[in-house]
Symmetry: C2
Subunit: 163 residues, 2 copies
DNA sequence: ACAATTATGTTCATGGTTGAACATTAGAAA
DNA sequence: TTTCTAATGTTCAACCATGAACATAATTGT
């Protein structure tokens, strides 16, 4: 009898494992949060992917497309698709770097900064709201858990990329 | 001075709020987990969306496309796109219900069940692995937090749908 | 200096997801 | 019954995301 059969026959389905159930809940919460945020941002004509970009430009002015992609955990090509849209809307600027002619340095325009502040308020309100009465300390503990998981997964990523 | 300006000028950026930071960590962890799972499932030619479907058919045999979509928090059209693929691969079956000629009842084939078990082992292993030394009790607390958030967001969803 | 390697950004084909419009069927109301 | 309403599944166009292939530029090795 192999391991799989033992699992099945003793009713140890994945969804009986506490960690599995926990993670499914995390994933579902993320999905719902994303969908709700999408709805609340419609009137600004901004979607979560755009907001992620805008917020990072708000924090890190002059960042590079590559750096931005890394922070967002997406591919470079994704930035190449989305950034021109935001540029055409006059929300961001892309200026070539004088020293390194490969890179494009990104920054928010005045309009972009205003829009970002509006959108961030919506996002913050949604998060505060949906967390209802969760004690701050609990959130901090969740954050610590997640950071550890992120670290583990990033280590795996390095292995995959390096091997 | 309005609220937004007060926030900005006193350096209360969103990323300074514990709940905001916590949620960003959750979102990033989810994203990384999804990407890692995608890589680990490639050799089975299965992607997370497919696996979600398969696991739910594994648990709930004879489920309807609509019910499945609801469980997965996706639109019906999504199921209409994905299910025929799995059917063509011989992993699932769709049989019309005799009493209600609108619905299609879904079930795994033998091959589908086998593949699902393989994939679930990979997913379970990834979750256990990435959670490293997180105590089970912490995971349970995280799950409870997430369930509360899910409940809150679902209530909002109902309001949005009902209004 | 020259060649090879690495890094940045773009393009393209593919695939998942959505919402709106549609057809069919069930169920409720008249 | 007949009509109206609601539910189920499909199709379609649009969008985001990805990875591979490519072009350009910087860096390293010889």
């Amino acid at each position: 009898m192999n391991k799989k059969q033992a699992q099945i026959e003793s009713h140890h389905f994945p969804w009986d494992h506490p960690r599995f159930r926990s993670w499914i809940a995390v994933a579902r919460a993320c999905q719902l949060m994303q969908q709700t945020l999408t709805r609340r941002l419609t009137h600004l004509d901004v979607k979560p992917p755009h907001l992620d970009i805008l917020v990072n430009l708000y924090r890190f002015d002059g960042i590079t497309q590559q750096e931005l992609a890394r922070k967002l955990l997406v591919g470079r090509s994704n930035m190449s698709m989305l950034l021109p849209q935001l540029e055409k809307r006059g929300l961001i600027e892309r200026r070539g770097d004088a020293r390194d002619k490969r890179v494009l340095r990104l920054s928010l325009t005045s309009a972009g900064r205003t829009l970002t502040e509006e959108a961030m308020e919506i996002q913050t309100a949604l998060i505060e709201n949906s967390h209802g009465g969760e004690p701050i300390e609990d959130c901090v503990k969740v954050a610590e858990s997640m950071e550890r998981i992120i670290a583990t997964l990033l280590k795996e990523d390095d292995l995959a990329a390096g091997g």
